[in-house]
Amino acid sequence: MSSNTSRREFLSTGLSAGLALPVLGAASVIDPQSAKAAVPAKLDYRTLGRTGLKVTTVGMGCMITSDPSVITRAADLGINYFDTARGYQRGNNERMVAAALGARRKDVIISTKSHAPNKEELQQHLETSLSELNTDYIDIWFLHGKGSPDEIADDMIEVQQKAKKEGKIRFTGVSTHNGQQKLLPWMAQKGVFDVVLTGYNFTMDASMDQAIETAAKAGLGVVAMKVMAGGTRRMKPDDPAYKKLTQPGAMLAALKWVIKKPNIATTIPSITDMDQLDENLKAMSNPLSAGEEKILSAHLDAIRPLYCRMCGQCDGACQKGLPVADVLRFLTYADGYGQFALGRERFLELSTAHQSVRCGDCAHCTVNCPHGVQVARRIARAQELFA
């Protein structure tokens, strides 16, 4: 699919591909939170790449879970993949996960991550994670937040491999928020990793699908995070996208869109409370509907003219040499987050020549955003606001 394919077509493609997915397993469970009528929930499983682990397509990101009871209940309801990290709440999150899952350790898959910048600290993080999680082994141990192969030193890989041989971890992985187009093919070729945890959602372009497919074909298990496209936590209520994403069912639709993708084995949406848990479980029971597809398309339509994805495709495109993505970001500080002073401060750090450019002086704009951002209009607003 070319990057010019409309998001609506892309969504349709995703939907039809997803409908052909085999369901590898299913089970019914009872909702023990309520003393009312039992609520059946269907669980779907997929195989996590070469690990062979059977994971529920909806897992649980535990980072902002409010109470350990939510994690315990998720396990009771059948979710079997739980994600935490050494750095979350400076270790308190690993302790919460341990307290919540202690009695069920053998029934669940626990992944954690280390952002250690060097071999020595990485080794220490592993020992600390084992201790805090109160376990003899970690199922999947990620190098946390890597954006390019350059950030993954050989001695870090050695630490992972040694830990695997010693039985302290079962499988190795890398988590990534950016640079996937280069990182995932490199991981696929490298052959020393078992799992990749990557940001992935309905707002991303086709190059991400290609990177994920390359990884999956090489046997890497693919776990998706940021499936809600950042959710609404970073939005202000007057943000046009806020209303779209907060309408009933929008978040569930975003989750369903991801688990329809055959190369994604599981997802780790952050689950704060019992209500969110119940909502997310529905993603395994009902496929993405036409109505939900419309919700996502509408959301994309709403943010397309405003939302710079920082894809870099406009680099060097401005005939006046403006760093287009940077200026759009400065505008977002002011328009999106009320940080006018910061936006202006950044704008005034541009060269005098760039500050004096006025988009209205150009007969036509040479920047064509492949994602539909109205670049000239947005840049002109930044100039009006900051210059």
Partner: protein, 279 residues
């Protein structure tokens, strides 16, 4: 036009007020900056903190200033998070503190360890973390110097939130601010949770008595089989999965109680004592 000018002035004033955190590395001999200070907002905090950004955002994050410092081969980073209010700053501190270690008297509260320090003061939550080749090296003195120096530079409240004094101290493990869904229940939006050797207590403040009464009513309906209890304005007790013996009471605009006790009667007894401490 006039209103736009006023708005611009207000925005600039807010921006200036929020620009007053000056960061450098001159808190201990031999330390200097390793590059310019950086700033992050809610929009791009992910660029720096990855997934951990959600933790900051959930507590009411406004902005972060950060700087890298070096002394020979030693490196450390200072992160100063500006939160929406002092309770949020203290709340983020409670989420990140090690409950097994004592609280140090820095600002509203802090913790100093061999290679890290955290504290909250006013609307600021500060983290100082060393990147060391030797993870076992003891740099407590450097951490203390940086934390004290940074604290002296920040303005704001130095007393912990009043609500913390309401929780009985006996058998108390730790207290933290839960930014949303206290006890895992969406109805209980934001409040303090005190963890005890057995069970946990909570206090949630609603905007008014009326809104508290409304939430109480919904909670009562949520727990089938709840029985009334005689505490403050209204109360109930129940035995439910995951929260075990629970008692919830309303006193004015506060919703509070105990959970995770073996039986609801015990929760009622402790809740009555807690109610007496809430003004």
């Amino acid at each position: 036009m006039k209103s736009a000018a006023v708005l611009l002035a207000v925005l600039l004033a807010v921006g200036m007020a929020r620009s007053q955190v000056s960061l450098d590395c001159h808190f201990a001999p031999g330390w200097e900056a390793s590059g310019p200070a950086r700033q992050y907002t809610a929009e791009n905090l992910y660029d720096y903190k990855d997934g951990a950004a959600d933790g900051y955002l959930s507590y009411g994050f406004a902005r972060m200033s950060t700087i890298d410092c070096k002394s020979g081969a030693d490196m450390l980073t200072i992160d100063v998070s500006e939160m929406n209010d002092a309770d949020a700053a203290y709340g983020l501190f409670t989420a990140n503190r090690d409950p097994r270690l004592p609280i140090a008297p820095i600002g509203m509260g802090g913790q100093i360890q061999s290679q890290s320090a955290t504290f909250a003061k006013g609307i600021y939550y500060v983290e100082i973390a060393e990147v060391a080749d030797n993870p076992n090296a003891d740099h407590t003195a450097v951490m203390q110097a940086f934390a004290s120096g940074m604290s002296a530079r920040l303005q704001g409240r130095e007393t912990a939130p009043e609500a913390l004094q309401w929780f009985p101290k006996e058998n108390l493990d730790s207290v933290r601010l839960v930014p949303e869904s206290v006890l895992g229940l969406k109805l209980l939006k934001r409040g303090y949770v005190a963890k005890y050797k057995q069970g946990q207590a909570f206090v949630v403040q609603e905007a008014s008595s009326e809104s508290a009464a409304e939430v109480f009513k919904k909670l009562r309906e949520h727990f089938d089989g709840a029985a009334p209890a005689q505490i403050a304005n209204e109360a109930f007790q129940a035995k439910v999965p995951y929260l075990d013996g629970i008692c919830v009471f309303r006193k004015g605009r506060f919703l509070a109680g105990y959970a995770n006790l073996h039986d609801a009667t015990q929760a009622v007894t402790l809740s009555a004592k807690l109610a007496a401490r809430i003004p």
